[in-house]
């Protein structure tokens, strides 16, 4: 049957073939019909809420009140507010530290996983687990591990004689920040390791063999072959993770609720506290909109990279 069709195709003239291919790829009404559900979903539940969020941020809307236009008043008030400036600082520290840890450890782990021969599937499977289980639930166990009285971490440190008193992990502002960074790293590391591993696998073996025969040692091979060839994957992973680390809500909300003394608030948790708990929807929307420029930047860079990759192909 298929052969017949091929024969049919071959028998037609060029003009007809062109019309045929036009018929095959140029069916605009069908394309629109297929896209319609996704289009309207994005329009009503993403684009419209986004516009609404812009309006809220320019108004003094509160829960149950539409509010009046107040211009950039919300943003001006935020920039003067000590808590917001603290949130801004926290977000930068949290994102920078977590991303650095995930990148460095993820790279090291990917290089190790790459060389595994025995128990490969088992070890990879175990490594990926923290990324799969529900974050809100796995963060509960971290909370329990850092609980002031019965902390298993403190128990271990004391029994190893590294410390002689309980460390106040969550009540201390700086240690609390350390803890949320640690948990974010725990959850995000598998994504880095597994994705970078896929990038490593894609590097042709001949490259390494050629470099080795030219006398390059393991460190030379890493810097001059692995890193440059892994750069596109590395960039995508870091950018992607940058958005979702900066926008993190679950870990901070479950572990510290932004405390102690607002020292671990991120945009998402502070926006939640302002918009829903205090009812200041305008202010809350303005806080969450601070995520938007970062998002735009990442989208811009990623699209440019995708286009560049497409032209090289």
């Amino acid at each position: 049957m298929a052969d017949e069709d091929v024969a049919k195709l071959a028998a037609r003239g060029d003009a007809e073939a062109a019309r045929l291919s036009d018929f095959l790829v140029g069916d605009t009404p069908v394309a629109y019909a297929f896209i319609a559900p996704a289009f309207f979903l994005l329009l009503f539940l993403v684009a419209y809420p986004f516009a609404l969020s812009l309006w809220f941020s320019l108004s003094d809307a509160r829960v149950g009140e539409t509010g009046n236009f107040v211009g950039l008043d919300n943003f001006a008030r935020l920039l003067r507010s000590g808590i917001f400036r603290q949130t801004l600082q926290n977000s930068i520290v949290f994102t920078a530290a977590a991303l650095t840890l995930k990148t460095v450890l993820g790279m090291a782990l990917a290089l190790l996983l790459f060389r595994l021969v025995r128990f490969k599937r088992l070890i990879r499977g175990a490594i990926l687990l923290p990324f799969i289980v529900p974050t809100a639930l796995s963060t509960l166990v971290w909370w329990w591990m850092f609980e002031p009285l019965y902390s298993v971490v403190n128990w271990t440190l004391k029994h190893l004689h590294l410390v002689n008193h309980d460390i106040p992990w969550l009540p201390d502002p700086y240690l609390a920040m350390f803890t949320v960074i640690l948990v974010n790293t725990w959850r995000g590391l598998p994504f880095f390791a597994i994705t970078l591993l896929a990038g490593l696998v894609a590097i042709p073996k001949e490259m390494y063999e050629a470099a080795e025969s030219d006398g390059a040692g393991p460190i030379g091979r890493f810097w001059y072959i692995t890193v440059p060839l892994l750069k596109p994957v590395l960039a995508v992973v870091i950018l992607f993770s940058a958005i979702f680390t900066l926008a993190d809500f679950n870990i901070v909300y479950v572990l510290t609720k932004g405390g102690p003394m607002n020292m671990t608030h991120l945009f998402a948790t502070y926006s939640f506290a302002l918009g829903l708990q205090s009812g200041e929807i305008g202010q809350g929307a303005a806080v969450s909109l601070f995520l938007f420029p970062i998002l735009l930047g990442v989208v811009f860079v990623q699209l440019r990279m995708v286009r560049k990759a497409a032209t090289y192909e």
């Binding site: 394309a31 539940l45 060389r115 591990m145 926006s271």
Partner: protein
């Protein structure tokens, strides 16, 4: 010489990997251990926290079943996740097909819009979305979640399936169309059977993301009996300053179980879905 070669990886490879495995697994192990430990041992500062020495108990699980709405939360999560997954995969398949196969005005822009939405974190839109959900009269019902989860699931499914569809040669479809099949028939009978791995992958991820979702479920639904798993365990098991750590951990274990089971069976799909976005 030979034995040195065989032993060396033990020190340069398996030994360095161990801390990573321990770091990944210890919290999950500790979750399970805590959920089976009796309170007397749990709250004894002199006992070894890593082990259960004074007998295993199912008490925390019993407390969860009898004194809380745990199983309602479980069922709610299941309903919402299955519904949101089915809706999103269907919409995703329909949207990915023209993007992968057809040329039409606005096609590129729509592709970019899907990609941008894929990157929008839920924490950017939860405030205005809660207003929208309110106006639609959906707040405090599971519908609020069934309707809003597709906002992040559809872009993900579309993006993933788009990649899969592009790898399938289109000649067979063209033949089918010349034989008089409609677009929909071609999609359902010719393309989908070949793209089954992609569809499974999209469905698995959509289910996992729905099951794990926390922020929308926390904001849009407040009656205790309508909460999902993640929110219920977190907000209903902590009463004031009293923590039922055993019960909390039991809830976390059962709440993670469906995902872990799916994960064990479909590990390779998870890995390919995870890397689909980044390595192309």
């Amino acid at each position: 010489m030979n034995s040195v070669r065989r032993i060396r990886p033990l020190f340069t490879l398996y030994l360095p990997v161990m801390p990573f495995v321990l770091f990944a697994l210890f919290p999950l192990y500790f979750m399970v251990v805590t959920s089976f430990k009796k309170n007397a041992e749990l709250y004894d500062v002199n006992s070894v926290p890593f082990l259960i020495k004074r007998g295993v108990t199912l008490g925390h699980y019993q407390l969860l079943s009898q004194d809380t709405l745990f199983w309602s939360w479980f069922v709610n999560s299941l309903i919402v996740s299955v519904a949101a997954t089915v809706i999103s995969v269907v919409i995703g398949i329909l949207a990915a097909y023209p993007l992968a196969r057809l040329r039409f005005p606005g096609g590129d822009s729509f592709g970019v819009a899907i990609f941008v939405t894929y990157l929008v974190p839920p924490s950017l839109l939860f405030l205005p979305l809660s207003t929208v959900v309110n106006r639609l009269g959906l707040s405090d019902s599971l519908w609020a979640l069934v309707v809003t989860y597709p906002t992040f699931l559809v872009p993900f499914c579309t993006w993933l399936l788009l990649g899969y569809f592009r790898t399938v040669p289109k000649e067979i479809e063209e033949c089918a169309m010349l034989d008089g099949c409609s677009r929909l028939q071609t999609l359902v009978r010719i393309l989908l059977p070949v793209a089954v791995p992609g569809v499974i992958c999209a469905a698995l991820f959509a289910f996992t993301l729905s099951w794990n979702e926390f922020l929308y479920a926390l904001v849009f639904v407040s009656p205790a009996e309508l909460k999902t798993m993640t929110v219920g365990v977190f907000s209903e098991l902590i009463r004031g300053d009293i923590y039922y750590w055993g019960g909390l951990m039991a809830g976390a274990c059962i709440g993670s179980l469906p995902i872990v089971v799916a994960y064990v069976f479909f590990l390779d799909y998870y890995v390919s879905g995870l890397t689909a976005g980044a390595v192309k």
